[in-house]
């Protein structure tokens, strides 16, 4: 071990309060493992928003349908990156595909991910874009036309029957996709929730908490992206669409808040052995990130201003500011939730007698810079995707309803 690392670990030893098992001094799942559930969460949330249009026929949300799908794809493609980088031996990653252990949630998640990417998301995007791809293949110059031809899988049929089939296929895929999206992110919650050794993680509610917060963050991110993209393009924002999405965001935040409050009250009431050290954990180590960032900034304030926008008849511009602010605050809140679960679960000893500290490196493969890179990369991928695949159906003019 390098002398710097040794010195850093001796410092960590000084910051221990109470008693910890000696091997617990190292926090193993750091910032990268916080980024990962945040990224997959956005996928599930964006997809659920897209499903509102196709399955529940919420027509007002249509303008964001394609954007939501592309957002889901961009984030899904980047999701394995933080996982890969946090491995002690990233070059051995292929073993998880070649010899997966069927009893391991982490291994089975690889297959859930593959199913969701190939069987749901890519399939739905293909059906949605097929017509435009064929049109653009004919319209564009090479090499772009070759790309579009390949992407359309050399499809040529643009008859009414074929387009009707596309629409039907999308509906079927989305119906299957909703439980698949639940499985995708609920699984991440299960990876934590099934660890009986850790009382902060081990909870039946964990998959549901993760899923609800995923839906919240996904919807909020699509709102944010919609406002930014349409603003950059100088296109008018469809306020009916935005109002509708925001009301769904509102309901999702309420449910998320209820589930997390339930978990909290449940633990406090049951008062199991771990409640003392967990109490110390949240008051000494997680105070800022839990009470201030996750609850106050991430849930209470956005709920408050969204209620304000709902109840009072505010002008378009003011509503836009409120929605934009709420979307950003919610991202901060959901990211903090991931931090509180992942890092928080490793800051107390399994002896229930002590607390340790997490020192995030700045450089290094598991450092802050890498984590920020992993957070920024999906947006870059999204820009590339949007360049290739238009967010509005070709030949359609957006008619915003005031």
């Amino acid at each position: 071990m390098s002398p710097d690392r040794v010195a850093a670990m001796y410092e960590l030893l000084e910051q221990v309060t109470g008693y910890i098992y000696p091997n617990e001094i190292e926090v193993h799942w750091g910032i990268l493992v916080v980024v990962y559930p945040y990224v997959t969460g956005v996928v599930a949330g964006a997809f659920i928003l897209a499903s509102l249009v196709k399955v529940f026929n919420i027509k007002e949300v249509q303008p964001t349908y394609r954007l939501a799908l592309l957002t889901a794809l961009a984030f899904l493609l980047v999701a394995p990156l933080p996982l890969l980088l946090h491995l002690g031996r990233p070059e051995r990653f292929y073993e998880i595909i070649l010899t997966p252990n069927p009893s391991s949630a982490m291994a089975m998640f690889g297959f859930v991910y593959a199913w969701y990417l190939m069987g749901i998301l890519l399939l739905e995007i293909w059906f949605e874009y097929r017509r435009d791809l064929v049109v653009m293949a004919r319209r564009e110059r090479p090499p772009l036309s070759w790309i579009y031809r390949a992407l359309s899988l050399y499809s040529t049929d643009l008859s009414e029957a074929a387009l009707a089939f596309d629409r039907k296929a999308i509906k079927v895929i989305t119906i299957i996709g909703i439980p698949s999206a639940f499985l995708l992110h609920g699984y991440v919650g299960f990876i934590f929730g099934s660890v009986k050794a850790n009382p902060w993680w081990a909870s039946v509610l964990m998959p549901i908490e993760f899923l609800m917060s995923a839906i919240v963050s996904g919807i909020a991110l699509v709102i944010f992206l919609y406002m930014v993209l349409w603003g950059l393009r100088r296109q008018p924002i469809d306020m009916a669409c935005l109002d509708k999405i925001t009301s769904y965001l509102f309901y999702a935040v309420i449910v998320d808040f209820a589930v997390e409050a339930l978990d909290f009250i449940h633990r406090l009431y049951q008062s199991e052995e771990s409640v003392k050290i967990l109490g110390k954990l949240i008051t000494h180590k997680l105070f800022m990130s839990l009470f201030v960032l996750q609850i106050l900034l991430g849930m209470i304030i956005p709920l408050g201003i969204l209620v304000l926008a709902k109840l009072r008849k505010l002008g378009d511009d003011l509503r836009k500011v409120i929605y934009f602010t709420a979307a950003i605050l919610i991202q901060v809140g959901i990211f903090s939730m991931r931090w509180n679960v992942v890092i928080g679960g490793q800051l107390f000893s399994k002896s229930f007698r002590g607390l340790m500290a997490y020192k995030m490196e700045v450089m290094g493969i598991e450092g802050l810079i890498t984590a920020l890179g992993a957070l920024v990369l999906p947006f870059i991928v999204l820009i590339v995707l949007i360049r290739l695949l238009p967010t509005t159906r070709l030949g359609e003019v957006e008619s915003p309803t005031a």
Binding site: M9, Y19, R89, E95
Partner: protein
């Protein structure tokens, strides 16, 4: 599409399906013969006269005998090349000091050069005080084996939980899943590591290094399948406890005279 095109498609479909089926069948046949050779291979140590199926290992620990001298910890580090830093232990010893006012002080005496807060308590305030050696419990229902995504950690037939350092990807799920803090990430190999009951010694009929050097015989390594062994007498003469029984990991390290305050 008309009948001709449909038949054309069908003609292609059957051979393609047939080819895939042939591949799958051959693969399945390979699997069954391979599984048979695997079974034989896993008994490779048999050729040296050791049959893992004849043994099932566990360890007994007598709390009242442990004097907290740390010989076990140091012998383990020497025998198994554990980094000599206070952050990685395959085994360690805890000190418990229980006071009249209910306060319980616990410290790790295997971390060298630290001022002992617990032993500095006034004698009149202390109601019980003792040492507890800890190590991997080689559980019969190990949560670490359950969660390993690549199957790099596994239980052998003779009841020892091992880590294949050539296959471990370093995801650290096992370290999170272990309720006893027995695992760590080896700083050089960047793979998970832990006590192996000194498997390389045990298959040769030796004791694990910790049990070998313990001056008071507080650690009793033994074969649970053997009817006459020090471990079997230990389980007869003492009321046995395990750590965290409610988690149902079925640990095979049995403690005698274990205090209720020990976690």
């Amino acid at each position: 599409m008309n009948k001709r095109e449909f038949l054309k498609g069908l003609i292609l479909f059957f051979p393609a399906g047939g080819i895939l089926r042939a591949i799958a069948e051959e693969a399945a046949a390979k699997e069954t013969t391979a599984k048979a050779t695997d079974k034989k291979a896993s008994g490779s140590a048999e050729s040296k006269g050791y049959d893992p199926a004849d043994h099932y290992y566990g360890m007994g620990i007598e709390i009242d005998k442990c004097i907290g001298c740390n010989r076990c910890v140091e012998a383990c580090k020497v025998e198994n090349n554990v980094p000599d830093l206070p952050f990685f232990f395959r085994t360690w010893v805890e000190r418990y000091v229980i006071k009249w006012d209910g306060e319980v002080l616990v410290e790790d005496i295997s971390i060298k050069d630290r001022k002992s807060k617990a032993s500095a308590q006034e004698d009149r305030d202390v109601v019980r005080s003792f040492f507890v050696p800890k190590l991997c419990n080689h559980c019969a229902n190990p949560p670490c084996v359950q969660v390993c995504p690549v199957g790099a950690t596994f239980s052998t037939k003779d009841g020892v939980v091992l880590v294949d350092s050539k296959r471990c990807v370093g995801c650290r799920y096992c370290i999170q899943a272990c309720p006893y803090g027995a695992r760590y990430l080896h700083p050089v190999t960047r793979t998970a590591d832990k006590c192996t009951f000194c498997y390389h010694r045990v298959v040769k009929g030796l004791l694990p290094a910790c049990a070998e050097v313990c001056p008071t015989r507080a650690r009793i390594f033994g074969d649970l399948k053997s009817k006459a062994s020090r471990l079997m007498r230990f389980t007869r003469m003492n009321k046995i406890h395990v750590l965290k029984p409610a988690l149902n990991s079925e640990p095979k390290v049995y403690y005698a005279q274990l205090d209720g305050e020990v976690r």
